[in-house]
C-alpha cells in the first residue's frame, strides 16, 4: 500500500505539470487585458511600461517557468518562514495579484476561513444527513419515508442553489427577518453572542449547500445499500441469527460504504473550490467569489493559482479515494 501511494504521488507530478501548462495556455489564449480597467487617459507608452512591469512582456515559457518556480519553491518558503520565523525566502518575488498587488496566497489565506466554514460545514452536514437517510430509505424501500426522501432529494438535486438561496433569503431574511442575508466577514467569534451571530449568518448558505450535497450522497447511499441488501451474505447473516441491527448496520453497511466513501472523498476538493454561485448569492467572500472577481478582472496570477490549487486537490483526493478503497475492501490489493 505504501509503495503504491508513493508511486501514485510520483506519477502525480507529471500530471500536475501538464495540468498547469494547460491552464496557463488557456489563460494565455483567453481574450482580455489585465490593464483594461486602467483609465483611458494613460498614454500608450506608459501603458506599455506598466504591462512590462507586470511581467507580461516576457515570453510565455519564461512566465510559465517563473510561475512554477514561485508556486513550488518561493511560496512554500514564505509559508515555512511564517510558521517557524525562519528566513528561507530571503525577499524573493512572490506571486502577486494584478488587481490588488498583494501576494496571491495572502488573499487566499484571508478568504479560506469563510469558505471552509460555510462550504466545508455544509459538506459535513450534508454527509451526516445523507448517510442515515440513504440507509433507512434502502432498508424501508418504497415506504413513505423512502418516497418522501426520494422526492426531497430530487428537488434538492434538480433545483439550482441560486434559486433555493434566493427563496430562502426572501422568506427568512426579507419576510421573517430571522437570518441576515449578507455574510459578515468581520465577525469574530469571541463569546456566546458572536457565536450565535455566526451560526445565524451561516444557517442559510449551509442549508442550501447541505441540501444539495445530501441529495446527491443519500442517493448513492441508498443505491449502494439496495445493491447489498439483496446479496446472499445478508441471508447468511440472518441465518446465523444475527439481529436486524447487526445485519444492516454491520454486514450491509460495511459493504455499502465502499463506493460511497469514494464519492465523498472525491467531493472534498469541491469544498475548497468554494460554491461559486452560493457564495455570490449570500455575499460570502470565500474562494469561489475570489475566483469570479479574479476572472472578471483578468487577474491571471490569481486565476492561475486558484485553478491550479483545485487541480492539486482533485489529484490528491483521487489518490485518497483509491487508498480508502483499498483499506475498506480487502479484495483490493495494490501491490
Amino acid at each position: 500500500m505504501l509503495t503504491y501511494s508513493i508511486r501514485r504521488l510520483i506519477l502525480a507530478i507529471p500530471t500536475l505539470l501538464f495540468i498547469a501548462l494547460i491552464i496557463f495556455l488557456l489563460l494565455l489564449l483567453a481574450p482580455g487585458d489585465p490593464l483594461a480597467n486602467m483609465p483611458l487617459t494613460i498614454p500608450p507608452e506608459v501603458r506599455e511600461k506598466m504591462r512590462e512591469a507586470l511581467g507580461l512582456g516576457e515570453a510565455w515559457y519564461i512566465r510559465f517557468g517563473l510561475f512554477l518556480w514561485q508556486f513550488f519553491i518561493v511560496e512554500p518558503q514564505y509559508m515555512i518562514d511564517a510558521m517557524f520565523g525562519t528566513d528561507l525566502a530571503d525577499g524573493a518575488q512572490r506571486i502577486i495579484s494584478f488587481q490588488s498587488r498583494s501576494p496571491v496566497f495572502d488573499t487566499i489565506g484571508e478568504r479560506m476561513p469563510q469558505t471552509l466554514w460555510v462550504v466545508g460545514m455544509s459538506y459535513v452536514v450534508g454527509v451526516l444527513i445523507a448517510l442515515p437517510i440513504g440507509i433507512i430509505s434502502a432498508y424501508k424501500q418504497y415506504s413513505i419515508f423512502d418516497q418522501l426522501g426520494t422526492l426531497i432529494s430530487m428537488i434538492g438535486f434538480s433545483v439550482p442553489t441560486f434559486f433555493t438561496g434566493v427563496v430562502l433569503i426572501l422568506v427568512f431574511s426579507v419576510n421573517l427577518g430571522w437570518f441576515p442575508s449578507i455574510y459578515d466577514t468581520q465577525l469574530r467569534v469571541t463569546d456566546w453572542d458572536s457565536f450565535v451571530a455566526q451560526m445565524r449568518q451561516m444557517a442559510m448558505p449551509v442549508f442550501v449547500l447541505a441540501l444539495f450535497n445530501a441529495s446527491q450522497i443519500s442517493r448513492y447511499m441508498r443505491a449502494s445499500m439496495l445493491d447489498n441488501l439483496g446479496q446472499d451474505y445478508v441471508r447468511t447473516a440472518r441465518a446465523k441469527g444475527m439481529t436486524e441491527k447487526v445485519v444492516v448496520l454491520k454486514h450491509v453497511l460495511r459493504n455499502s460504504m465502499i463506493p460511497v466513501i469514494t464519492v465523498i472523498a472525491l467531493g472534498v476538493p469541491q469544498v475548497f473550490g468554494g460554491a461559486i454561485i452560493t457564495e455570490q448569492v449570500f455575499k460570502v467572500n470565500g474562494l469561489g467569489q475570489l475566483l469570479i472577481t479574479a476572472i472578471q478582472g483578468n487577474d491571471i496570477p490569481m486565476v492561475m493559482t486558484l485553478t491550479f490549487m483545485f487541480a492539486i486537490l482533485i489529484v490528491l483526493f483521487n489518490l485518497i479515494a483509491d487508498i480508502l478503497y483499498g483499506v475498506l475492501d480487502p479484495r483490493i490489493r495494490y501491490d
Binding site: D232, T236, A237, K240, M242, R254, N255
Partner: protein
Amino acid sequence: MADGAAPILDVQGLNTVFHTRGGEVHAVNDVSFSLKPGELLGVVGESGSGKSVTMMSLIGLLPTPPAEVRNGRVMFAGQDLLTTDAETLRNIRGGDIGFIFQDPMTSLNPVFTVGMQIMEPLRKHMGLRKRAAKARAAELLDLVGIPDAMARLDDYPHQFSGGMRQRVMIAIALACDPKVLIADEPTTALDVTIQAQILELMKELRTKLGMAVIWITHDLGVIAGIADRVIVMYGGQIVEHAPVRDLFSNPQHPYTEALLTTIPTVTGARSKRLTVIEGQPPILGAPPEACPFRERCKYRFEICDRMVPARYPISDGHDAACFRADTALRKDKSYA
C-alpha cells in the same frame, strides 16, 4: 435413524405466498413433513418447485413482504416457529438450526474475515468470549478439513477457493452444534470432484455429530448416496415421499418416474440425447385446484383436472400424491 422416535421438526399444512406485481404466487401449498432426530431427509424437485422456499419459510428467512407464510404449523423443540417471537426465532437460527446455502462464492461477507464470520454465531448463541470463540472457530475449520485452521481464520473469503468457502459455510452452520442442519443445494455450485469431497465430508460429520439434516438438491445421484428418506416436490407440493430405496425401486408418482428417466446413463450410446420432461413447471397464481403435474403427465385422467390429489399411502413410510395410487379409485376403475 431411530424409527418411531418423536420427530425433531414437524411441519403441517405450510403455505407460502409471494405478493408480486402480477398478483399472488403460491409457492408452497399445504406442505407437511417431519424430520426425525439424526436422519437425513432429501428434498428433490426441479428449479421453482418450492424446495428452498419451503425451508426458508420454516425459519422466517424469507423477506416479508413480498413473502407471506399464510398458515401451517412448524413444531420445533416444543414451539411453533411460525408464531413465536422474532427474538426466539433468531436464537434458533444459527443455534439449533444451521443453514448452508447454494453459492459459497456469494454467501460469505467479502469484507469480514472468515474467523469473524464463524465467531459471530458462537458469540451470540453460545455466549463465548473472543478468545474461546476463536479457539472454537479454529476447531470448526479443522473439523471441516481446512488445513492450518488457526492461521486461516484471519483470511478473507476471496482468499479461499469455492470448495473451501463451502467448507467455511458448513463450519458456520455447525458452529453451535445444531440439532437440524438445512443444506440448500450445497454442492450445486461446485464442480464434481469438489462435490464429492463435500458429500464425503457431510456424511462423515453427520455420523460424528449426529444431527438431522434436510438436504435440498435436484441431483438424484446425490440423494441416492446420502439420504435416508426423500420427499419429491413439484409445484410447491409434496408429490411423493418415500424411503430412499423405495423411491428408486418403486416410484409411484409420474413426476418421480420422469425424474428418474432423466438421469443420464454411463453405459448408453454416446449419441443418445438426454431425456427431458417436456413442458414447464407451473407458476401458481391461485391455490391449486387440480393436480399440478397434469400438463406434463403421460397418465393424465379426467379427474386430474378437477381435484388436487391427496397423498395416498403406498406402503409404510411411502406415499404419493397421484390418483393412480388411490386404492379406492383403482378398485372403482372409473378413471380408466
